[in-house]
Symmetry: C4
Subunit: 198 residues, 4 copies
């Protein structure tokens, strides 16, 4: 079977990420007509949920890009199966502007939250599949198995966090984001502790 270089799949991925992340801005609609200064301020302030969604989605997407970057840092080459997993992964990344649009307009609805977190979960699961397949097929550059295990662990936690978000979106949509913040917070604390230990 042909093993392909990874540079072009990286280029396509970087492109899709860059575009999906930049298209998020199109969900922020510019107040169109001439207004008084106060009216305009009010209009911009009314966009707060959309701004919040923009920032959060951009950063989550950035996090997925970073994890993608990190895993490919250790992957030597790919095969057809990995390319297709990657394409599915990118399909869900490129769906983000739609999910963010739902979330921005209708933040408190379980339906939009389920769609949004479901999109994130699909991305996370495909990244897990990608990584574990690559490890089992021995496509990983053999440096530091401990690091590889730590990445697998981190990818798994990401999927868990978004699963819990989905559950809490059904149970109490007002607090569905809380598990995500706890996850991020725990990660930062863990990171600081690990650095101190060294």
């Amino acid at each position: 079977m042909v093993t392909l270089g990874k540079s072009r799949i990286e280029a396509l991925s970087d492109g899709v990420f860059a575009i999906a992340m930049t298209l998020l801005v199109l969900k922020l609609e510019v107040p169109e007509h001439q207004h008084s200064n106060d009216e305009m301020l009010a209009q911009i302030l009314a966009l707060r949920p959309q701004f919040l969604t923009y920032v959060v989605t951009f950063l989550i997407a950035g996090g997925f890009w970073f994890l993608h970057h990190l895993t490919f840092h250790f992957i030597r080459h790919v095969n057809a199966f990995l390319v297709w997993v990657n394409l599915l992964y990118l399909m869900f990344v490129s769906l983000l502007p739609f999910s963010a649009g739902l979330m921005g307009h209708l933040q408190k609805h379980p339906v939009s939250q389920l769609f949004y977190f479901g999109n994130m979960l699909a991305i996370a699961l495909l990244l897990n599949l990608h990584w574990h397949y690559a490890r089992r097929k021995d496509f990983i550059v053999d440096t530091d198995p401990e690091e590889a295990t730590r990445i697998g662990y981190r990818l798994g936690l990401t999927a868990v966090a978004f699963s819990i978000c989905m559950v809490s979106a059904v149970l109490s949509p007002d607090y569905s984001w809380v598990p995500l913040w706890l996850f991020v917070f725990g990660f930062l604390i863990e990171r600081v502790r690990r650095r101190r230990r060294r």
Copy 2:
């Protein structure tokens, strides 16, 4: 005549593919106003044909990107003629969001199906032309002529599949997708069989 490196044509191609694939999402319109939860669910479910078109078009485009990747893996360098074939190829790739928009809104019309499959066929034919010209001009890295023949064969089948889709779009628009599924299915079976043989 100047022979050019292939890295920049690859970069432009990856860019056009990434954008065309990500612009597909703009055809999914976010329900705009505040609704009840049920109403919103109904609206999202009403987008089913667009979602289906999104997924299928993304994957077909991903497949064409993969074939492009695969052929360029074996191409050493390009000349002016190949650059222009490539640009025409990208012109049809970048038309995909339009064709997908037609398909998403008007799935059962022969006109939109002919346009959609015609777009795919044009991409497939230009990729065939690209490959056969490169082989005849000896621009291919000389590894494994059997592999090269297999790629040519696969590209040809892609063109055949979309031609049959066009014919069936005229004859029975309700089943025009069937030839494509048969083709994909056949390809997967062939693949599994070939792997077992080894």
Copy 3:
């Protein structure tokens, strides 16, 4: 003064070209509502001027990308001045979807033609400036001065062709494209003749 590598300016350029070329498709509006088959065919046929503009603009942009590629093939490195010429160049490339939109809707108006050809002329002139500055500053890889001269000559002709188009847009807007076709035609003939001579 710092001399910079050329890879990132190439990456930015490829990105801007890919996006500008792909955004052209957004000027093709998908007929939105459910129609009879005949009505839909009529609507698509009514888009003919937009399709024509799409194809022609995509190919002209592709041609400029190719010339950019060709000149950078011979440029060793860049300095701050060249980066800024390049950014201005990209500014006009990224204006293409707007100019194409004008042209697509209002093909026979001298105003839209002047805008469109003026956009093309600006791109051509900046590419000329770029090339001649790079040659004078000795940023060119020293292979084959004859080839370098031929490129300069070709770039000059491009600017001339679009200047003539602008003049003819004022004099007789119905035939303003003719000089461009003559130019392309002459170029192809010249090419065939040069190949025969060898």
Copy 4:
């Protein structure tokens, strides 16, 4: 801690810049319907503030891209912290089409000016943070500390210029751009003088 190569963060950045800069053109709306020639000219002339905003924003964004390019020219590799600073930086870059949209429609309002210059200031500050962190962590290729200091100085001035713009947007919105022009002008003079001295 893992140190990552810089090529992919450069690729993502080039992508985001290319898209944000090209999306600016979508704020220029094409006059849609068939008009007389004079009417059309009037409509295009009425777009003057948007054109001005397009050109200025494209060039400022180009300047930030150039500074990003310049700093990365000297950065050897990155770590997780720098990646996140970069992602925040790109988040504000990708917000530019929105800010430019505000500015284009409502140029004389303090609110839109504060938003616009605030966006620019955020980009400038994050670039300063990026550079100084990279220097302190010794991620810089050790060539010419004087050059490194000069870049730090230039980045600092950029932040100062946009801060002054914000102040003047509140005090006298009609002249809020003046500090920026003075800054650019001063920079060009400084440059010419430095070249003469050598």
